[in-house]
């Protein structure tokens, strides 16, 4: 079971197209669409959003992504009416980039909060409101004194760090209980990884803190050394 995602757009075509794009990178994630009005016009419909939320209910939670302003308002109204709003989060993120990042995180097994964060991280930390979420640190682990595990891995695949490898790394790391940076950027953020523009032969320096730190470093190392399954 993974977190499901609801796309609320003014246009049925935009909602369906965005969901199609997400499905390419996250085939196992339930992405439901509420695009356009009930009679096929441009606009948003409370009925459609409620129907999508109803369909999505019963899983590990739902994250809503929206396009223009009134889609946000319709989604917020839907939350006022929803049966179980606790499991439903509204992400403040650009629709297409946010949806891809959220889907990839959900595909990797991230929980509903982490999926929302993944969507919102595409804006970059400078535009996020409020402090970053605090992670619980398990007893006995040492923090503030450097990473628990590190690794350096050379990219061997021809294309280097492009969208699919970034999605694989970010998706898997989202599901682990570890703070991971790759060459200084958030390893759980697909878009941050892509901004590294790391080509073949580049070395990825991975630093991880937290319970799953060792697994996280091994996960990235395994992917990189296997060339992400690419030539």
């Amino acid at each position: 079971m993974t977190v499901s995602i609801v796309v609320v757009s003014h246009s049925e075509n935009i909602a369906d197209g965005a969901a199609e794009l997400a499905a390419q990178m996250a085939p196992d994630v339930l992405v439901l669409t509420a695009g356009g009005t009930a009679d096929g016009r441009i606009g948003t419909s409370l009925e459609k959003v409620l129907a999508a939320l109803d369909h999505a209910a019963g899983g590990d939670g739902t994250v809503i992504l929206t396009d223009l302003g009134s889609a946000v308002m319709t989604a917020e109204s839907a939350l006022e009416f929803a049966e179980d709003p606790a499991g439903v989060l509204l992400a403040d993120a650009p629709l297409v980039e946010g949806l891809v990042a959220a889907s990839v995180a959900a595909q990797g097994g991230a929980d509903v909060q982490a999926v929302k964060r993944a969507a919102e991280a595409v804006r970059g930390p400078s535009q996020n409101s409020g402090p970053p979420p605090q992670r619980e640190v398990s007893e006995g682990s040492v923090t503030g004194q450097g990473p628990d595990f590190t690794g350096d891995f050379e990219l061997i695949n021809q294309a280097g760090m492009h969208a699919r490898p970034a999605a694989k790394i970010a998706g898997g790391l989202s599901a682990l209980d570890a703070e991971v940076t790759v060459n200084g950027v958030d390893g759980a953020s697909m878009t941050a990884l892509m901004t590294l523009a790391a080509g073949k032969g580049s070395v990825l320096h991975v630093e991880a803190r937290g319970v799953d730190a060792e697994r996280a470093v091994n996960y990235v190392g395994g992917l990189v050394q296997a060339g992400f399954g690419e030539p």
Partner: protein, 210 residues
């Protein structure tokens, strides 16, 4: 005159009439600074409200407004759907199961509607939105209810007149919220369509009591 369920149904019926009559005018206003669908959306939304009222006649003013809220949220399509839906829903909340609304009750309903619109749309007075009609209407209704007697008509009139003046006052403003804000300075010189339809709604509340 008492504001009972018959008044509430007549109010919503007059809203539907006003939206049909001013459909083209609202479309023109929205074409200038928005996406030109406001008149169409409001007309369709309130026609759907009429259908629902006929299907399931409400027992109280609050029930009538709640039914209107749900219908507008589902049928309007544009931003006005969730905004007016929230406004009517919050107003209905102040009325509860009451059979009649007194002057203070109407003032409370308009204030709650304004608060709902502000909460949903995150707009402030002066942003060139429907808040510019509802905020002065809420203040005027409260002032009239506080100083007036038991006669409710004067409170309805005070809200409607303040909303109309507020709508006119949006003409020179530069939009800071909604689709018109993409136009920046070019949005000045046009009346905000949402403020205009808000004034029609509050004027219809007077007509229903006349």
């Amino acid at each position: 005159m008492v504001l009972d369920v018959n008044w509430a149904v007549k109010w919503l019926t007059l809203c539907a009439q006003a939206m049909a009559e001013h459909r083209v005018e609202l479309i023109e206003l929205d074409r200038a600074i928005g996406d030109s669908d406001h008149g169409e959306n409001m007309d369709r939304g309130f026609q759907a409200v009429l259908d629902k009222l006929a299907e399931a006649p409400p027992a109280t003013p609050g029930a009538a407004l709640k039914l209107a809220a749900m219908t507008l949220m589902s049928k309007v399509g544009g931003a006005a759907g969730p905004l007016y839906g929230t406004a009517f829903l919050r107003a209905a909340g102040t009325m509860g199961d009451a059979a009649e609304i007194d002057p203070a009750g109407w003032a409370a309903a308009v204030s709650a509607a304004r608060d709902g619109i502000v909460a949903r749309g995150k707009a402030e007075p002066g942003d060139k939105t429907m808040v510019d009609a509802w905020a002065p209407a809420a203040d005027a209704a409260k002032a009239a209810a506080d100083t007036g007697g038991p006669e409710v008509l004067s409170v309805l009139v005070a809200a409607a007149e303040a909303a109309e003046a507020g709508a006119v006052a949006t003409d020179p403003l530069v939009a800071r919220k909604g689709r018109a804000s993409y136009l920046g300075e070019r949005s000045a010189g046009h009346r905000d369509p949402g403020a205009a339809s808000s004034a029609l709604i509050l004027r219809a509340a007077v007509g229903a009591a006349a």
